[in-house]
Amino acid sequence: MIKFFLMVNKQGQTRLSRYYEHVEIHKRTMLEAEVIKNCLSRSKEQCSFIEYKDFKLVYRQYAALFIVVGINETENEMAVYELIHNFVEVLDRYFSRVISSNGARSGESTNVPSHSEQGWTKY
């Protein structure tokens, strides 16, 4: 079960947050701050799955933007990892031609390298 979906920049500011369970507003900010701290302190060689409290975080970095998804233990971590990439590709296809007016809506203008095909790629 996906608990929440966050897009955060390197300075720790939330660009997009979507919660799939009801969480109090002040708890949200605390949660986001802690989650971001955990993700920012990881280096490039470390794996994208963090065990945090009683659920897991799956995160991916795209240029200056972090996308973090909180999942519980019934979810396949690798599938969520690929879901994040899927989401970014969709955004890329949808917004890449309409940068100026929708740049703000989709958050900070990200230099997402556009992939020409959707990837079920071998790692």
Binding site: T14, L16, S17, R18, Y20, H22, I25, H26, R28, T29, S43, E45, Q46, C47, S48, F49, I50, E51, T74, N76, E77, M78, A79, Y81, E82, S101, A104, R105, W120, K122, Y123
Partner: protein, 696 residues
Amino acid sequence: MALKMVKGSIDRMFDKNLQDLVRGIRNHKEDEAKYISQCIDEIKQELKQDNIAVKANAVCKLTYLQMLGYDISWAAFNIIEVMSASKFTFKRIGYLAASQCFHEGTDVIMLTTNQIRKDLSSPNQYDTGVALTGLSCFVTPDLARDLANDIMTLMSHTKPYIRKKAVLIMYKVFLKYPESLRPAFPRLKEKLEDPDPGVQSAAVNVICELARRNPKNYLSLAPLFFKLMTSSTNNWVLIKIIKLFGALTPLEPRLGKKLIEPLTNLIHSTSAMSLLYECVNTVIAVLISLSSGMPNHSASIQLCVQKLRILIEDSDQNLKYLGLLAMSKILKTHPKSVQSHKDLILQCLDDKDESIRLRALDLLYGMVSKKNLMEIVKKLMIHVDKAEGTTYRDELLTKIIDICSQSNYQYITNFEWYISILVELTRLEGTRHGHLIAAQMLDVAIRVKAIRKFAVSQMAMLLDNAHLIASNTQRNGICEVLYAAAWICGEFSEHLEESNQTLEAMLRPKVTTLPGHIQAVYVQNMVKLYASILQQKEQAGEKEAAQEITQLMIDRLPQFVQSADLEVQERASCILQLIKYIQKLQIKEVPVAEEVIALFAGELNPVAPKAQKKVPVPEGLDLDAWINEPPSDSESEDEKPKTIFHDEEQRHSRNRQPEIDEEELARRREVRKQEQANNPFYIKSSPSPQKVSLAC
């Protein structure tokens, strides 16, 4: 009037839209809060306008602000107004705001029911779509009950766009209003064979989630899913179906047997790592449930372990993590298959990534043997030193103790080494597992007689350095170790070399800062130590030394008598009196040590859990016979009393009922009649039996 309109439209020109808001916030980095409260005031003004476009703009900005952490529940009614706009773009803004901010506690949610119903039956598919998407986030049991039928009809809509959304939202509706599942289920099943792949995968998703909660009801669908699994090429759907099978196999072993082949095929053929991982997981689940040890299953286990090894060896950290995670599942039922990969796991222990190290730690449990235990623990201790102040260190600590103590210390060859490891662990600050270390020390010292001397000398050292440890007095902190140290020194004081010194260490004033339960143990064991010292001195004929010790105790005990903890106070007062009495005897030159020692005679041995069963039942004792007369049936109807009076009356009546025979009854009747005749206040009513209960 006209002027007002012109003024209004000029004002509107200066309204900020969302982009301006975002830009403004970024430009006001220093006084962001002030700027935002200014914007909120402007938004409140805009919400008072009649123009729906203005309101929609305001709600759009509010949604963004909510994401930044500002509460917008005060605008709930305005959001509903925007939801009821006729233009799609405004409606969409309203539903988005509702999905972000409405929850079960929002009172105005009921007002949305009719609006949503209207949108659901709208000719415009996008209106319906946005209503469905928004509803899924804030559906309540009432909304679910009212709208379930509408959504069910939408599942058979002509447009797949709508069908897909309707199917997905049915899951939420089922969660909130379970009675809707029964009528909707046949239609849901139909959607599994829908021509549109999107609708089909939506149906698969919903049924998989439902089946996870209650697998029994969905076993009948297994053949259908089997067909889907073998025919589908969509990896997302395959992952869900395989997960579903993983949930169903514990209930139906034949299903498991049938699955192994297609799953192993998938494992060999797929190039998608997530699918591979899911297949491996499910194969493990199947094999665990089938764990009857059939020959071809060991081949499947080998295949899984092989594939996992490839994953772990991969340079991609994510795959390593997943490989280790799956291995630990296999470890629980087939530890031998995993043992051959010991070297790989030990390598992972040195990995830079903490998540991977944690997973490798879990696996270590099954990997230790007598030969490599010391080496592994040494490695872990190096990690412990490096990992300052993290939860990882606590994990390490628990792991070290778990590994060493598993199977009744099966793998420890040298207990003295173990005690020294435990003492080294006490140097860790800020741990929450002090009681674990303490429990281990006690356990080992009691059960392994041979090392008691060594243990006692180490504990005496700990007590001497107690001031280092005592600074950290949090619950379950490392000061718990002093509990163990004091007890061991007291109980096995015959092994102590410098009893005097240890006794003095226990009597230091700093001890009173320790938690109460530890002080209590200190006090108790002080006396044991004192007793053994007394005996030593009297046997050596050093009367003065004996009296000195007694005086020392009398001097220092009062600080414990004044303790705030009741247990400590009680024990200290008892012991103080005892020692004063001993002092009096000592002055009269009566040898008293023997009697004092007798107070602590006898060794407490650990008792095995099944020991009670081994005690032979003595002759003539029937453990099943009643000790007292069994209570009569009427008494056994022991209802909880409704009032106090009721209870008393019941009890009286019950006490009278047993053992009444004819003569008794007649005699009592006579007595009663006599009383009634003599009682001037007794009203002679109809001869109805006296009702006992006065309960009202």
